[in-house]
């Protein structure tokens, strides 16, 4: 009984995603917006898994999304004529997961030995570095990118492709979001979470307590990166059916991830959803009213949150519900 209770906080998360999905299904005209919001929530949820739980900021995070996108792109681009049908999408996801895991292992092997400022320095170049590797060594068509809409059409047919990129891709994004949320809660409720909490607060003390800090950091880092890879495969590759290195590794997605996590509250379970919804809706309306100004308006908001409300929305909410019946649902 007590054991089950500890997983109650997943309920509001599931309710939130169900409501969002329901809204999109009931109002087909709003599906685009819902898909966009789901993307932001997922981005936040996956990013939070590392940043929120360890207290480290990975400024090169977008590289994992980009490499995941390439995973899907490559599968479709090279396997479309092998008669595999929809199976190439499955292979695409597997490749996306493998690529992002491998990249995170490579980056993590260096960056996760480092602390604080040095970690930030090591990661801030990852997306740029990887972009220039692809462009410089002309890997996967280099700067010309991969355009694979025709390949996808040939492999699965026109109808399937349409449904895939306008509907199922978004549903898959929802799936990734829920997976990320569930993983976050499972981490929090098990040794991993306590280890991460300890290292977030005092890494030296954590070490002498017998916590293999590198191991737990790597667990969080890889999980977060793999989710990002899957997100890229679903939200970018399947929806857009093209990929250019300059877009796939653009740092402003890292900025968005940071904004979302901070808005919601770093290290909380509900935070990324709240942050993702606030950011998504605000950006949606700003894009209509003031196109091109989103970052100029959001950057001061980042600063405001950091300096004045470091706990974020859910962090403040958590303090409010402390000691009430809601306490066990909100973390």
């Amino acid at each position: 009984m007590r054991r089950a209770q500890r997983y109650y906080p997943i309920i509001p998360v599931l309710v939130a995603y169900a409501m969002l999905l329901g809204y999109g299904l009931l109002f087909p005209g709003k599906w685009q917006l819902v898909a966009q919001l789901a993307f932001y929530c997922t981005l936040g949820q996956a990013f939070n898994l590392f940043m929120g739980m360890t207290g480290y900021v990975d400024f090169g995070y977008v590289a994992f999304i980009g490499i995941g996108t390439y995973g899907m792109a490559i599968s479709i681009y090279y396997l479309y004529d092998k008669g595999l049908g929809l199976f190439i999408v499955v292979i695409g996801f597997i490749l996306a997961a493998i690529f992002s895991t491998l990249l995170s292992l490579a980056v993590g092997a260096v960056a996760l030995r480092l602390r604080g400022a040095y970690f930030a320095i090591a990661t801030i170049g990852v997306n740029e570095g990887f972009r220039y590797l692809i462009e410089g060594a002309r890997i996967w068509n280099g700067a010309d990118g991969i355009i694979f809409s025709l390949h996808l059409k040939k492999a699965v047919g026109r109808e399937t492709m349409m449904v895939l990129s306008t509907f199922w891709a978004d549903v898959l994004v929802f799936t990734v979001a829920i997976a990320a949320a569930v993983l976050t809660l499972v981490f929090m409720r098990n040794k991993v979470g306590y280890a991460l909490m300890a290292l977030r607060m005092d890494e030296d003390a954590a070490k002498v307590m017998g916590i293999n800090v590198t191991k737990y950091k790597i667990i969080a880092f890889i999980t977060s990166a793999t989710l990002a890879g899957l997100l890229g495969a679903a939200a970018w590759a399947l929806k857009l059916t093209y990929i250019y290195p300059v877009d796939a590794f653009a740092i402003h997605y890292t900025v968005e991830a940071i904004i979302i996590v901070l808005l919601g509250g770093a290290g909380t379970l509900m935070g990324p959803i709240v942050g993702g919804l606030i950011y998504g809706v605000a950006k949606y309306f700003l894009a209509i009213v003031l196109p091109g100004f989103q970052l100029l308006i959001f950057a001061p908001i980042i600063i405001t949150i950091i300096v004045i409300f470091p706990e974020g929305t859910v962090g403040i909410l958590k303090k409010r519900v402390m000691g009430t019946a809601l306490q066990k649902y909100i973390i």
């Binding site: 040095y118 990887f130 590797l133 002309r138 600063i303 300096v307």
Partner: protein, 360 residues
């Protein structure tokens, strides 16, 4: 022949490296004094580049003369950023006992709305963009909130927070400049002749940039070691508590060094345009952030002189690797050189994060 080309590369690399070194000193100074990594470093270089461009194009002032202006602009920018966002994080001035009340929030919202109305009204006369008004409104709102809450002490030092804040300021600068000048790449042409030294040809602008960098580094060194004000800043680096009991105004030294660091960075932006006077755009800073990190880590993150020597080394590496990649068929030497610098960064961080050039 090969020897001549090597020697030519060496000279070119050193000249470039001097400017790179100068462009990193501000980063190292800020880290040395405040333990803050300025993640928005490149954006400040961009500001310097635009300063040079504007002064040259609009007023016909050669970049060398624009240096002091850039320094002052940068230092002002640094002061504003320090007092607006860095100080509340590193030493919160708020009483911390004031509880956020509904009334405070009400006043904040009221002021924000009235400000919006005023801006809307003004925009009729001055053709201000709505978004700009909102941006200004946000800044005022921020100031007000800061006044009410006075900043919070962060759970895990202020490290994470300062990283994000400097990052956000970089984004603000980029977006702001984009609104002013659009994101198209610009350039200018300041031709004052070339110097042929036999093994290679150097435009005088490049030489001037390198000389300017070296002189600034020397002045900074003398200032740090020979003047009372420089000693005060050094004492803060070594032990801020000790400096305080000696009567050094530590808070001011923090502000000053942050401001000086930003000032140096903006100034280096001017010098860099003397080197590469094209491709000036709001997002040009990104690669320089990365390069500055490589250089700073080469020289030991906390040491401005280390950074300068790191810059020299990096100039040589970059020049050499570009020449090398150019002979490999089927690759983009330019992009690959950038990847290579990232690789160097990782390797140094892996083997010796405290800097290769430092004695300990």
């Amino acid at each position: 022949m090969i020897f001549e080309q090597l020697a030519g590369n060496l000279v070119q690399g050193l000249v470039l490296g001097a400017v790179y070194g100068m462009a990193t000193m501000g980063l190292s100074l800020i880290f040395g004094v405040l333990q803050i990594v300025n993640v928005g470093h490149g954006a400040f270089i961009m500001v310097g580049a635009f300063t040079a461009l504007m002064m040259f194009q609009a007023l016909g002032i050669p970049p060398v003369i624009a240096l002091p202006a850039a320094l002052i602009l940068g230092m002002l920018l640094g002061m504003v950023i320090y007092y607006a966002a860095v100080k509340p994080l590193v030493s919160p001035s708020g009483s911390g006992i004031r509880k956020p009340s509904g009334r405070d929030a009400g006043i904040a919202v009221a002021i924000f709305i009235s400000l919006m109305v005023v801006m809307r009204f003004l925009s009729g006369y001055y053709k201000l963009h709505t978004a700009f008004s909102i941006f200004v409104g946000l800044l005022f709102l921020y100031g007000l909130l800061l006044y009410v809450y006075g900043g919070r002490r962060q759970e895990k030092a202020a490290e994470l927070a300062t990283l994000l804040v400097t990052f956000a300021f970089g984004v603000i600068l980029e977006e702001f400049v984009k609104q002013l000048f659009t994101s198209e790449a610009r350039g200018y042409n300041w031709d004052i002749g070339k110097l042929d030294i036999g093994i290679t040809v150097l435009p005088y602008t490049k030489l001037l940039a390198a000389l300017g960098s070296v002189s600034i580094a020397v002045i900074l060194y003398l200032w740090f070691n020979k003047t009372r004000a420089g000693m005060a800043m050094r004492s803060v680096v070594e032990d801020s508590v000790g400096a305080r009991v000696c009567g050094v105004n530590v808070d001011w030294q923090y502000a000053l060094s942050f401001s000086l660091g930003i000032g140096l960075t903006v100034t280096s932006g001017v010098l860099l345009t003397m080197f590469i006077p094209v491709g000036i755009n709001p997002y040009m800073g990104g690669p320089y952030t990365l390069k500055a990190f490589v250089i700073a880590v080469l020289g030991g993150l906390a040491s401005p002189y280390g950074a300068f020597f790191g810059g020299l080394v990096f100039g040589l590496i970059e020049n050499g690797s570009y020449t090398l990649f150019a002979v490999i068929p089927g690759v983009e030497p330019f992009a690959l050189t950038r990847f290579f610098s990232f690789l160097i960064l990782l390797v140094i961080l892996l083997i010796r994060p405290t800097g290769l050039l430092r004695a300990k």
